[in-house]
Symmetry: none
DNA sequence: AATCCCAATTGGTCGGACCAATTGGGCGGC
DNA sequence: GCCGCCCAATTGGTCCGACCAATTGGGATT
């Protein structure tokens, strides 16, 4: 009998969701302090350890900031200094921050990959491209395809720092902001742009790869910006 | 005199980088189990709590999988299944790779910081600069000063992805290669370049900040290249 | 030989303790 | 009365010890 057991939910995951819900509902507003650990233990009925593991995650997601001796604070969203912004904007802000980082990174990585790629890397890129042509219907598959392509691309740079960074950012995207790929529905554009990047790399054209990659991420960025603006209250 | 330390690195962050280094160096291979918590506590000399917070992060980054009752395992990356994963030692090559990543990142971060910095960020930058003027004698202090400056600079971008990236890459430097800073002895150049970046940010001059940052990192890159070449075989 | 059972191992959770940084209020000096 | 210093309370960071649940492997039983 195959073991179908689903992974049990850890307590810290529940806490993460509860805090995220508190932020989304407006109970915790941007810049405001989160109740201290010792009080939350009581309110949520969990131990301090679980609480702290949850906050480690929330920090990494860019939702919470911890300051020893002071407290934890809901991070301020983008730009909007003036008060009363939609609480929902916080997670949206995190998504846009992710994309802004990629606007810088992706073209540079593509250029470096074009310079450094070996034949084995090209083969693997080709394989990823053809493998994902048919499997981009569901948002989850699009996310996976995008991740696969960019990871293989990054590994072609043979720079472990880039690889670490890409793994990290994409995992952040896929772990918690899977909403992104339901907003990005144009699979043909995805495939075509990836193809374009691949061809530039095939020709060892660093500048071309950077340009294609830049167009790719700029389109995604604009699309997300518009989609998130539309969703507003 | 007050301790000028601007920021202390959390223990779990160091653990995260040590584990990442173990994976990158090939000491821990994909699919293989990570040593159990109770043994790692001893090996790394940290408490189980810090260890567990580190693994929460490594899980979120997709590097580790935890299975209760069994153990923790290095997750298989999607790009590199074909075996032959050339695990390189984290040595001189890694230093240069780190610097190549910074050649791309630092100017972009400086430019973004120039656009986004608020008065509080400028104050903190000034404080870091003046605090480190006198404390760059020992290599370890130079490393700390460089880290502090770049971290505060990055936090001025108010982009948590950049902050995460910088924390990780710099911690990687300091954990495994404080040797870098014994090769970089020109403390006046360091200070002057940091000062220059600061002034560009003060004027909200994105392009200027990027140029200064680029000069800074290029000098470091060249210096390291020469130093490592001299040390060579 | 096959099966069952139990003890050891491992991650998950809890509670308590202490440290370091920050903060705010009260006390003392002016 | 005002200013400044100091201390106690608060808060996150770290460590330690304990117990639970799931898994595993080997030995005892059948």
């Amino acid at each position: 009998m195959v073991d179908k057991r689903v992974r049990q939910t850890r307590i810290y995951e529940k806490v993460v969701d509860e805090i995220k819900a508190l932020i989304a509902s407006g109970s915790l507003r941007q810049g405001e302090p989160v109740p201290p650990e010792r009080q939350l233990m009581e309110d949520l009925g969990v131990s301090r350890s679980s609480l702290r593991e949850a906050f480690r995650v929330l920090e990494l997601l860019g939702l919470i900031e911890s300051i020893p001796g002071k407290g934890r604070f809901v991070r301020r969203g983008r730009g909007e200094e003036g008060g009363a912004s939609d609480p929902r904007k916080l997670e949206d802000g995190a998504i846009l921050e992710l994309m802004e980082a990629r606007r810088v990174l992706d073209p540079a990585i593509a250029a470096e990959a074009a310079r450094k790629a070996r034949s084995g890397d090209l083969t693997r890129l080709r394989r990823v491209l053809s493998a994902t042509e048919g499997s981009m219907a569901v948002p989850k598959d699009r996310a996976q395809a995008d991740f696969d392509f960019h990871l293989v691309l990054t590994e072609a740079t043979q720079n472990f720092v880039f690889v670490n960074i890409v793994k990290m950012t994409f995992n952040l995207i896929m772990a918690t902001h899977d909403r992104i790929y339901s907003l990005l529905s144009d699979k043909d554009a995805f495939l075509h742009e990836h193809q374009e990047i691949y061809e530039a790399i095939l020709n060892h054209d660093g500048e071309g790869a950077a340009r294609s990659s830049s167009r790719h991420i700029e389109r995604i960025y604009r699309t997300l910006q518009e989609a998130l603006a539309l969703e507003g209250p």
